[in-house]
Amino acid sequence: MLNIFLVIKLPFLAGLLALLFKSKASRANISLAAFFISLAAAVILYFKPVADVSLDLIGGYSLSIGLTRLSWLVLVFINLFGLLTCFYSHSREHESRGYFSYLLWLVAFSSLAVFARDFITLIFAWGAVLVLLYALLSLGPGYSAKKALSIVGLADFALVLGICIYVAVTKNTMMPQGSAVLINTPLLWASFLLMLSGALAKAGCGPFHTWIPTASESASVEVMAILPASLDKLLGIYLLAKICLDFFILNHLAMALLLLFGASTITFAVMMALIQHDLRKLLSYHAISQVGYMVLGFGTGNPIGIAAGLFHMINNAIYKSGLFLTAGAVGERKNTFELERLGALASFMPVTFACGLIFSLSISGIPPLNGFASKWMIYQGALLGLFNASSKLLRFAFIVSLVSAMFGSALTLASFVKVIHAVFLGQDNSSDRKKVREVPFNMRIPLIILAALCIVLGLFWSPFVSKFIGPYLGGDLSYLGNWNSVFAAVFLAGGILLGLLLAAAGRIKKSFRTDGYFVGCEKTDEEFNFPATEFYRSVEEAPSVRLAYKALKSEPLDLYNLVKAALNVFSRAFYIFVDRLIYFLTNLAGYFVLGLSYLFRKMHTGVLDLYLAFCLAGLVVLLFVLMK
């Protein structure tokens, strides 16, 4: 019980306490202490598991929390990212007094979401995370917070509806464990699709992704690092795991749907990332693209693929938050995120460069880093699925997803070659070209920890997966091929060392001739510069993909604008054809009464002859009725 208190209630209460302090340092220190204790408590929970705790609510419903192996893993990483982001933010300027409190509450409610053993607790925590997403994004300028709230809110309502249908069908508000249901009725299909929308939107998968690039332009990098890059991914994919493993038994159609969702997300997002010139926006598209791999992993339906999806969730959160924090470090020193105005930072910021390089290689799936390990597992899962596919649709989906995954990986590498070149190598393109210093200690440490995790999880992926993910899937994972990462790492390190020695030898004794630039008949001292932003210009302009890019960049096709347009059409129709019509009819009734009154008034003229005429007419009518 104490550990549960420390993991959920302590950050929540610390958030309230932090609000009371005026000094930024005090707020940061309180937050740091709370995060540290809560992370330690989360780790201890592995050794001292706690029993489920239940609190009766109303009408027989209750709030229940408990911990499974998977939720423990997610819990630890949620707290770790909270701690690192807080540490990173320690020396940074934040205008809002609420920033650290929002961070603490975000971690507290995210922890509650993974602790949830019943649907009500899950939705409660989910809603609170949405509010905090809005609060954190509101700290920046622009309309990204509103856009995020609209899109994620839409998906959250879909999730609520999906869960309500599920509960109505299964008559149980507790999250099932080992009693998943077949998707065999329209209601269960609706429930599956609605819940899937909620999970995918939280993870930032297409078509619910459009708020992320918008947010990247205005939100601080810490917010991007903790929300779309890490916590949102962890929560969204955690829920996806629950949907695919605990709530439903996936059939071929559902698997194909997930595979195609994953494949399309990988492809379109990486293509968009390739043409971005703003570092944060580029990273945000990669954050979306990587979700595609995780979804694809779940779509395979086999243990390797699902384990790969979960492992990729952890890996992606590590290197993607690392990349955002790297971007933050660059932005801190250069005050810009425009690739065209950056360059040559490697020598000034060696630690940031080294960490950024590791993250870039990891996301590109270069061995022996963690990104490679999980992608390697995803390919195996997809291949296994392809071999065992029993329907044409599924076979087609597997082929498409395999091609997309490999294509996406290649384009990710291409994109990060551009990033590394534009930010750290090449020449300094900033207007002032001033020398910069490495970022402060508190900003470097999170980068180093995350980079170290990329290496450690890359080297020891197999024991990690079998120890922490395998048990949740209920058994040993048998791989198609063997990949000894430690062995490979030794060879790779040897190769790199040899290369460095050769380079050093070359520097000592120049064995090749170097010439200056020669244009026409004149020698020039000016260095020719090929900006990194021009790297893939030809791709964007290629006739075969130009149309696709046009569609992807199209504002009206943005889900936010589509939903807004649809709601506007319906609301105008409701307003004009119902509300105003009723208003008109009410007025008409009023005018009718007034008209009658006018008529009666006019009849009362005081002329006796007229009254006698009325009496006569009345008698005639009476006579007629009686005679009839």
């Binding site: 509010v131 839409l154 309502f157 309500c164 609301s571 105008r572 409701f574 509300d579 009819l585």
Partner: protein, 465 residues
């Protein structure tokens, strides 16, 4: 029973004493009377929690008696209404301070609360009708407070539409009397109400609670001063219809499935149409008025579901909506007070000068939308769940779509009023009682959401679910 009697007589008599007082004492006295009313209602709570329902009856004829009863439902409504009315009165001390004729406002407000209390504790259908009409008169005078042509028209419209509804209600009461020979709730308990009588009674209820097709008076009533609109829309007037539905169809009679299904259909249509209309309007008070119509649709839906749990959800909804909607209307009042406009196209960027109001608005808006951990989340979520569990799949789905509309129209309002470029320069908010009141309502919406367990425990004990 003394407390029940005091809860009604203190505001009713207080209103007349207030009318005789010098001008400068009126606001303070009105606040004191409403505070006493709230405390008096609160003092009945322990008895109701322990299941002791007290009753008083003075019979006049077979169809009319002065019968009062204090069961859980009545005590709950009395506490919520008087509490929100008290907060609104505290707010109006500053809001109405520059109006020469504010004594008239306080008189009608206090009398209004008194008649609401009378209606709540009525144990006879005819007595309830009398207080029902008294509230109509009070609201007519309050809506037309400014006495301009536009205000008079809006007040007349409200009075005529609700009077039309009240006529239907009266016809329903007559039919009930013809069928059962009594109008005492205690004697009618468990009786099956004929459909014609049920639909006639419903006519009165939907007029008072501004449900389709008798909803048009409520958006027009926004011409009244903001405390009045908050009182009408959030705490008292529109809740009368809902309370009457709960009292007549959930606690007394057994309604037919045809009737209940019709009400479910009507409430869902109201939710959607009103929410859609809110998305079109540009007048801040009209948007909130349509929002009220839509949210009342949810409450009626919960009551029409017909299960005991749905009844409890409806009460939770009433509480959550009263707090949050009063907060929203009072926020709108502060905005109107500072900028002299209700047109959201002319507003913008108020977040910088009015951060507390903006935060209070956000908390209340989140609650109305139904986003956790705010109070409004619980009844909305549980209602959707219960609707689907009871097999009303289409109603459940449409209720979620209605919630989505709510998200969009309330954030459109927030976006246009508080974000973006500052279009009208206003003084920063400082030590204003009006701001304290809206912040209190926002914080209460948050606290009740987080502390849902004790809140729901009290409600469960009150209504015995």
């Amino acid at each position: 029973m003394t407390s029940v009697f005091l809860t009604i007589t203190v505001p009713v008599l207080g209103a007349f004493v207030l009318a005789a007082l010098p001008k400068r004492f009126k606001p303070g006295f009105a606040l004191a009377v409403l505070a006493a009313t709230f405390l008096s209602a609160l003092s009945i709570l322990p008895g109701a929690l322990s299941g002791k329902a007290s009753a008083l009856s003075i019979n006049f004829t077979s169809w009319f008696s002065f019968s009062l009863a204090s069961d859980g439902l009545a005590v709950f409504m009395a506490c919520v209404s008087s509490f929100v009315a008290l907060l609104i009165c505290a707010y109006s001390l500053e809001y109405m301070s520059h109006y020469e004729d504010r004594g008239r406002f306080y008189f009608w407000t206090v009398l209004f609360v008194g008649s609401m209390m009378g209606l709540i504790f009525s144990a006879n259908l005819m007595l309830m009708y009398c207080f029902w009409e008294l509230t109509a008169v009070c609201s007519w005078r309050l809506i037309g407070f400014y006495r301009g042509e536009e205000h008079t028209k809006a007040a007349d419209r409200a009075f005529l539409v609700t009077f039309f509804g009240a006529s239907l209600l009266l016809a329903g009461i007559v039919l009930t009397y013809i069928n059962y020979g009594t109008l005492e709730f205690s004697l009618l308990k468990g009786a099956a109400l004929p459909n014609i009588a049920a639909f006639l009674l419903l006519g009165g209820i939907i007029a008072k609670s501004a449900q389709l097709p008798l909803q048009t008076w409520l958006p027009d009533a926004g011409v009244a001063p903001s405390p009045v609109t908050a009182l009408l829309h959030a705490a008292v007037l529109v809740k009368i219809g809902v309370y009457a539905f709960a009292r007549i169809f959930s606690s007394t009679f057994i309604a037919s499935p045809l009737f209940l299904n019709s009400v479910i259909a009507l409430s869902v249509i109201t939710i959607l149409i009103a929410a859609g209309s809110a998305l079109v309007e540009n007048n801040i008070k009209r948007v909130l008025a349509y929002s009220t119509i839509s949210q009342l649709g949810y409450i009626i839906l919960a009551l029409a579901i017909g299960t005991k749990f749905a009844f409890l959800i409806a009460l939770l909804y009433i509480f959550a909506h009263s707090l949050a909607k009063a907060g929203l209307f009072l926020c709108a009042g502060i905005i109107e007070h500072k900028t002299n406009t209700k047109d959201i196209d002319l507003l913008g960027g108020l977040m910088k000068s009015m951060p507390l109001t903006a935060c209070a608005y956000l908390l209340c808006a989140f609650s109305i939308i139904g986003i956790a951990p705010l109070f409004g989340f619980w009844p909305k979520f549980l209602l959707i769940l219960e609707t689907l569990r009871e097999g009303h799949i289409a109603a459940g789905i449409l209720a979620v779509i209605g919630a989505l509309f709510t998200l969009f129209y309330l954030f459109r309002l927030f976006d246009k009023v508080f974000l973006g470029e500052e279009k009208i320069k206003v003084f920063e908010e400082k030590n204003s009682p009006m701001v304290y009141v809206v912040v209190t309502l926002g914080v209460l919406s948050l606290l009740c959401g987080i502390l849902i367990k004790p809140v729901s425990d009290i409600l469960t004990r009150l209504v015995g679910c």
